[in-house]
Symmetry: C2
Subunit: 349 residues, 2 copies
């Protein structure tokens, strides 16, 4: 633990770790797939602090979020395995003996999913089926958490969005996330695996990839602003989004793995109604540089536009006591502080 | 057409072909994948009669429903291609120039799906994605019909089941059928393809495979009864099912391809409330042989049991005018007559 503390990148935790989480995770064997990515590496920081015995698996695929720097400060403490969730034999090996699995490995861009539909199916569909098939054999008692997405809903019909809202994805990305959810629910029902899926809205925070703008609009805008560039707003920018800070997501992962793993699906979100333009203004305020630019919507945008999105998180709150704690301005300040310090590790490809 | 008529297996059409269908299909180029299977070959009979220019594609995978005898009487008239929907280059070739595509190729057993999850994903997921990707390129104006399943619903919450009933499949088979539906809806929305999905309940009739009992309980019971064997009823046999005769399904395919291909999903079904035991009694009556046997449910059956299923078909009826026309007893009589005549072509493997 000492060696961990001494080279930790500056990181002010905005959501404190609870004593219950400590009691639960101390000594537990935990596997995180996608372990050097944005959410995986952030979760790893918390689990190491909580005293868990952590294994990180990451395929380090070139364009995705895996970044060795994200986990540099815990590399002496955790076990790191470079490998792919689509490798059944490897998954049997790494899953064996695990108490909790956070299965976060993914292709995470809806644009890439559209350009590379078979690759997206292969990673986000077959990859998760592989993990579940292996877990059924070698880790049937493990709790397994899946990171899904608000993109499973498609066009929003009723706000705030509850988990039983219709699921008609507008993208292959959303379709394959829905496929993943159905797998996790099925393996719970059919084989008693302790699975759970979390539908994440627009996540942001330290450790997110900054190499390209194909996912995480907030992260990309932080970079544009820090580079004193233009932040592009399509149309009037009044569409509401649910921008959720990484610490709140990590907290949801930690809590749901303790209390919610019965094959269910849960929303997470801030309850904060933020328009796109307000988000841009908050990024500009946090960075102190950059400027905004309004442009008309492309002609066919409507087919990809979900409408306003605000999550109803009652279900998760009732089961676990989780609540969102970080509002956008605070989260952005911490995000910008992080990237100002570690920019070199994120800007280059 | 003469050569077609002279070697047609005895086949009394229980649902007449309409003049509108003739006007629509005459001279049309039509591709049927899974073309030598149960539904594909039955549809082929009708399309040939309607004057369409028909291509049949079938991979003839050993355990599935493809059977050369099913199409023997139309082989001189149609083009037959032995090939797999997972072959992208082949699909580009065969889709080119088609007006209507019935994409019925599938792995069709929920038991096989459970034993071979990756194979099921590959055929029923990636296979259909392959067809749609190819169609987007070479046949963007074609109408494309997908055969989905009532298995997408899972446990039934409200009867009769409407298309907006929750979709929580209890099997990998149902999950991958749902995946297929989402693909078809997405390619309609995103690229303007004229797609449509039909959720089929329990289908039966001539040309269904009879080699094993892993799908189509009605077909399998017809065989058991004809062989003077036992027809096993689990529990009290009171669960209601929607047994739909092949001619009604073919009629739905024909009608929906003319009027319903806008990315939608439609139920088909009989409206006839038939219990499992009543179905068994009807099979015994139609064959004049065999006997029934009641046995207790296996201990874990509940996790696979959907509860009673009756489809609400209002949506399809309003859009196309389709109505089910064949009740179980009549359909079974025709089915038994067919297999009595052509048993040799279906009993052996």
């Amino acid at each position: 633990m000492k060696s961990f503390m001494k080279n930790t990148p500056a990181y002010k935790r905005l959501v404190p770790l609870s004593e219950e989480s400590r009691d639960f995770f101390v000594g537990k064997k935990v596997l995180i797939t996608g372990g050097s990515g944005f959410l995986g590496s952030s979760l790893a920081q918390s689990l190491v602090e909580l005293g868990a015995s952590v294994t990180l698996l990451d395929a380090q695929l070139p364009l995705y979020g895996g970044n060795r720097f994200n986990i540099e400060n815990v590399l002496e403490i955790v076990e790191f395995v470079e490998g792919d969730i689509r490798d059944y034999e490897l998954m049997r090996t790494v899953l064996s003996g695990q108490d909790v699995v956070f299965n976060l490995a993914a292709q995470v861009s809806y644009l890439d999913a559209s350009d590379q539909p078979f690759e997206d199916l292969d990673i986000n569909g077959r990859g998760h089926l592989t993990v579940l098939e292996a877990a059924k054999e070698v880790a049937p008692e493990a709790t397994i958490v899946f990171s899904s997405s608000r993109m499973v809903y498609g066009k929003v019909i009723e706000l705030p969005v509850r988990e039983d809202h219709p699921t008609e994805p507008l993208s292959l990305y959303g379709i394959h996330k829905l496929l993943g959810e159905k797998y996790y629910a099925y393996y719970a029902r059919a084989f008693g695996l302790k699975t759970v899926s979390i539908r994440i809205p627009n996540p942001y925070g330290p450790r997110q990839q900054m190499k390209h703008g194909k996912y995480s609009i907030v992260g990309w805008f932080v970079r544009q602003a820090m580079d004193d560039g233009a932040l592009t707003i399509y149309g009037d920018g009044k569409q509401a989004r649910d921008y959720l800070y990484v610490d709140d997501i990590v907290d949801a992962f930690l809590q749901v793995s303790q209390k919610g793993a019965g094959g269910q699906v849960y929303n997470v979100g801030t309850h904060e109604r933020v328009t796109f333009t307000e988000m841009v203004d908050a990024v500009l305020a946090a960075t102190g540089s950059g400027h905004k630019e309004f442009v008309p919507w492309p002609e066919d945008y409507e087919r990809n536009e979900t409408g306003d999105y605000i999550a109803d998180t009652t279900k998760l709150e009732q089961v676990t006591g989780w609540k969102p704690q970080v509002m956008l301005r605070e989260g952005l300040e911490e995000t910008v502080a992080y990237y100002k310090k570690y920019k070199d590790h994120y800007w280059s490809t």
